[in-house]
């Protein structure tokens, strides 16, 4: 087991998104109420639906506002619509529709949003601001996954939960596999990949893989740094966050989006009220993203935004130095 906690075994690089399709298919096979709503941007399990249940594909075309409201109505009649697109289309274009026709009534709609700092699609598509405008919405659960195992488990948990959920799908540096197959994912619970004494990195999504590498750098310097994987971005697991603060006294949040309204500010709010400590908010500063074909974590966009493992290690040292 080594330095990591149970269910953690750092493995070969693997895209987290690989976990979505099998989870979707497994559930769709069992439950005919699961529908795939399309916005001309594909979706999880599309091939399976096309071959096995074409009547359960509802293609709305490039009309996201209409699609979001249709999802709400289908859910009001007992169906479980899953809809996928880029954050800018799925969430930002249809923001008011998601609020009014899904969240107000807590309809059982599952949103799969593609975003984050990385991607070759440019400033229009690489949404770094998503959490800032989605975390403030009542009635919505937001999930973000670190690897393919967590992706499959989180997707399954999302489908079993009755109510609106957004699960994030990120492009960018392919993280190592982090969890073993028997990892017990729980909605609303963060997981300590490793506990530390000197500081804790509280990371989400692709940044968990980068946190694992940053920890390796810091370990060589004799620092004992913990890693907490925040897979449920809303509601935050306050208990785990407070534990990390109390036990290490130095917190670095790590996200591949703008920290304003993101994980960083969310964790800061929890700690301000409950267990203030030395803190650094690591992520994209107040800036839009652009194209970048980074497939490893030391690519050009990672360098531009200072999101590499080395940069994260610098922030951890800073948080430790600020400790009283």
């Amino acid at each position: 087991m080594g330095k990591y906690n149970q269910y953690v075994q750092i493995g070969e690089p693997e895209a987290p998104n690989a976990g979505f399709d099998p989870a979707m298919i497994e559930i769709a096979e069992k439950n005919e109420k699961v529908l795939l709503v399309l916005e001309d941007m594909g979706g999880p399990g599309l091939k399976w639906f096309t071959e096995n249940a074409p009547n359960r594909i509802i293609e709305c075309g490039v009309a996201e506002a209409n699609a979001a409201v249709i999802c709400g109505a289908l859910a009001s009649e007992g169906f479980i619509p899953v809809v996928h697109s880029f954050d800018f289309a799925l969430l930002a274009r249809a923001y008011n529709q998601i609020r009014q026709s899904i969240l107000v009534d807590r309809f059982n709609v599952k949103l799969v949003g593609r975003g984050g700092a990385w991607g070759d699609t440019g400033i229009s598509h690489n949404y770094v601001e998503t959490l800032g405008f989605m975390r403030c919405l009542p009635n919505l659960i937001i999930l973000s996954v670190a690897d393919a195992v967590e992706a499959k488990k989180a997707f399954t948990a999302m489908m079993q939960y009755v109510g609106p959920v957004l699960i994030r799908q990120e492009a960018g540096p392919v993280p190592p596999r982090i969890y073993t197959e028997d990892y017990p994912f729980q909605l609303g619970k963060a997981y300590f990949i490793k506990e530390g004494r000197d500081a804790t990195i509280i990371a989400t999504g692709l940044m968990v893989g980068i946190a694992v590498k940053a920890e390796e750098i810091l370990e060589k310097e004799g620092l004992d740094v913990g890693i907490l994987d925040i897979s449920t971005l809303k509601p935050l697991d306050e208990e785990a966050i407070i534990k990390a603060s109390v036990e290490t006294g130095a917190i670095v949040t790590a996200e591949n989006g703008i920290t304003i309204g993101g994980l960083g500010e969310g964790v800061a709010a929890v700690l301000c009220e409950n267990a203030p400590c030395s803190m650094v908010l690591f992520g994209v500063q107040d800036e839009f993203s652009q194209s970048g074909r980074d497939s490893d974590d030391r690519g050009k966009l990672a360098m531009h935004f200072a999101l590499t493992p080395e940069d994260l290690a610098v922030s951890v040292r800073e948080a430790i130095a600020k400790k009283k």
Binding site: E32, L35, N55, R56, I58, C60, G61, A63, A65, N66, A68, V69, I70, C71, G72, A73, L74, S76, E77, G78, F79, N96, Q97, R99, Q100, S101, V104, D105
Partner: protein, 298 residues
């Protein structure tokens, strides 16, 4: 059933009763979207007291026809009906727009028994109606009924009647919203012949005449071009409303969504509201209109 003198008489007495409820509601709130509520009131009466398949007081009856009030600011007209058909207690008329009351400022399905749609952000209702109509098609396909219900929609064109029909009431100003036309395309694509949209074409929105604010002519042709069956009617002629609803109903099975464009008058029936094309009446504007209404309708 086609319109006849007796039915028209009956519906007129319902109209008066509902109007009394609305006046009581306005007495208490002194605020309401009275212009648009009055313009669509004849249509609402025809739907709720004649055309819709309902099972009061079971407002959640799975086979009830769904009504999506897309112009959800005009909820006071429907609220007044819901009291009359017994979904909601008369007491609720006193709490319009008030904290934790049944009758919220805009339609809210969790607050008000009998409302199928939470609205207020214009342009979304037709999409919601699409979803409901689509759900009906899917449910019927997944679980076909074992036998036809003889008294409801005895049709020859299709194997089965719809489990329920979906009605959507839109405002004309609302049709400025691009989403309405996204929804119109979708209904055509999926052949939602179980969906009937009714546009309350009262020609005025908040800032003024809809044709000045955003010209939409040729309006009926637009719907037709989007693949809809369209019929223009006088929205204050009860016989024409009833006959058109029945006509649209009898076309079920043709694979076309239906759009009834009802030419109406904003503030219809209340002189001061008609004159000012009132959108949102408050205070004295409500008091004067209600007093006029009580004089006319007793």
């Amino acid at each position: 059933m086609a319109a006849n003198e007796k039915l028209i008489q009956e519906l007129h007495s319902k109209y008066v009763a509902v109007l009394q409820n609305m006046f009581e509601l306005l007495d208490n709130s002194l605020s309401g979207h009275t212009g648009g509520s009055m313009s669509m009131l004849d249509i609402i009466i025809a739907l709720y007291f004649h055309h819709l398949k309902l099972n009061p007081p079971d407002y959640d009856w799975p086979e009830r026809d769904r009504v999506v009030l897309s112009k959800a600011h005009c909820c006071e007209a429907i609220y007044s009906v819901l009291v009359e058909i017994g979904y909601v207690s008369r007491e609720s008329l006193k709490g319009y727009n008030e904290y934790r009351e049944t009758f919220q400022g805009h339609a809210d399905r969790w607050a008000t028994p009998g409302m199928d749609y939470s609205g207020g952000s214009l342009g979304q209702g037709l999409s919601f109606a699409n979803g409901l109509a689509m759900a009906e098609k899917l449910k019927t396909e997944m679980n076909p009924p074992v036998s036809e219900i003889p008294q409801f929609l005895p049709r020859l064109k299709t194997k089965h009647n719809p489990a329920y029909r979906t009605f959507c009431i839109l405002g004309d100003g609302e049709c400025n919203e691009g989403q309405v036309w996204e929804a119109a395309m979708f209904a055509n694509k999926y052949k939602l012949d179980n969906l009937i949209a009714i546009v309350d074409y009262n020609k005025f929105s908040l800032d003024g005449p809809t044709e000045e604010i955003m010209p939409m002519a040729p309006f009926a042709e637009k719907w037709a071009a989007f693949g809809w069956w369209v019929k223009e009617i006088n929205g204050h002629d009860m016989a024409e409303i009833i006959n058109t609803l029945e006509l649209a109903n009898n076309l079920y099975g043709d694979g076309k969504p239906k759009c009834i464009i009802a030419h109406t008058v904003k503030g219809h029936g209340i002189p001061s509201w008609e004159e000012t094309h009132v959108h949102l009446a408050r205070g004295v504007g409500v008091e004067v209109g209600v007093a006029e209404g009580r004089k006319i309708y007793g």
